[in-house]
């Protein structure tokens, strides 16, 4: 659904244990999009799927978990070796 115009300076981080290829300067949300991953979490209220919506830190739909904290993947620079997980919903 998304593609990179240029593939340079690639490195790898993990999302739920899976290797994700990222390019320098990308946020986690951007890298996931480039790898065909748009759905990042389920909502607490109805367990519906959500993914990045605004890409500017305003909507909080792109939440993921890093180091036990819920963070916005669109505001989080991808870095080599970073371990990113899906944020847990209330029923998980």
């Amino acid at each position: 659904m998304f593609k990179r115009l240029h593939d340079d300076n690639t490195f790898v981080f993990t999302f739920d244990g899976t290797d994700i290829q990222a390019c320098k300067g990308e946020t986690v949300a951007a890298a996931l999009f480039a790898n065909g991953i748009a759905a990042l979490r389920k909502t607490h209220t109805s367990s519906s799927q959500r993914g990045p919506f605004c890409m500017m830190g305003a909507c909080y739909d792109c939440l993921v978990e890093v180091d036990g904290k819920t963070v916005q993947s669109c505001m989080l620079p991808a870095q080599p070796g970073l371990q990113v997980n899906r944020a847990k919903a209330q029923d998980e």
């Binding site: 607490h44 209220t45 904290k69 819920t70 847990k88 919903a89 209330q90 029923d91």
Partner: protein, 374 residues
Amino acid sequence: MTIRSESEFAVVGGGVVGLSIAYGLLNKNKNVTLFDEGDLALRASRGNFGLVWVQGKGAGMPTYAKWTRASASRWQSLARQLSNDTGWDLALQQRGGYSIYLDEKSLEKKVATLTELKKQLGGDYPFEVLGHNAIKKEEPHIGKDVVGAVLHHEDGHLNPLVFLRSLVKATQLRGLKVVQKKVTLITPSGNGFTVQTTDQQQHLTEKVVLASGLGTKALGETLGFKVPIRPQRGQVLITEKMPPVINRPSDEIRQVNEGGIQIGASAEECGFDDKETIKTTAELASNAIKQYPILAKAQLVRSWGALRIMSPDGFPIYQQSTTCPGAYFATCHSGITLAAAHAQLLPQWLCGDGAAITDLGIPFHDFSENRFDV
């Protein structure tokens, strides 16, 4: 100026106290009109903590302890009735609640207070003291700095916003008339009262109940009440939704049924300022992490301040006007805990049978504002 409506009861105040009373009166088939303000009114009912709380209430006034317990024991029936009316679940849980302590001295002091209260209540006051290991067994996420807790088995909590919404819907279903205008003046007239609103309308009523929290002051004084109340700011934090981490509520921290962790219990004297401050919210956060270290990484989504309605001794006031009989004044800072009493017992007093409450072993005249006369 036109006369709009005639009713047996006018209830001034659309918060939890006013609505609970109105609900009770409607259940007694009374004709009730409720007056409520606009969107930005000071609304204690929308800032509260959602506890149905017994422990410690009434230390220094056993009647209040009895009144609190009378309400707590009626809460399941109120919740059932409201759910039947509306189809909504209040998420009421009365499986006990804690006061959690980080130092031995404060814990001992609390235990002494509750022991004295238990004595005054004839030994019927089900609480127990849990040491660190005992509370850790109940609450696996409790911090190492917690020395112990008091567990009172009659304590509980609910979703206060669903409760508020349920009261609005249930009273609407039972024929409550609502006037969404601020009341400017209430005057005795004929066999009752004239209630005047900001839009210059007049409403006639046989009896009037002032349940308008901090807004009661000016209205009440013209009806002969002293209204000795003041605002006290409480600040509350709410985190992002989390998987279940807290089993039972405490008077400072609870996990709401939607998953967020609510943290509260500050008290500040700062007039009508209901803003949140970093100083107090930082203190609340620090205390919460000591009690439940797992909360350190939780994201705080929002904080807010709201104003409690405090009487000089902190206990409720229920008063009928001596100069204008038929005018009643009700106030408390525990509108959730006391809602069942307000819906099921207070209407008897409003309908002229206060003795029925006293017959339950709760000397109702103790709540008169005359107790503040020197």
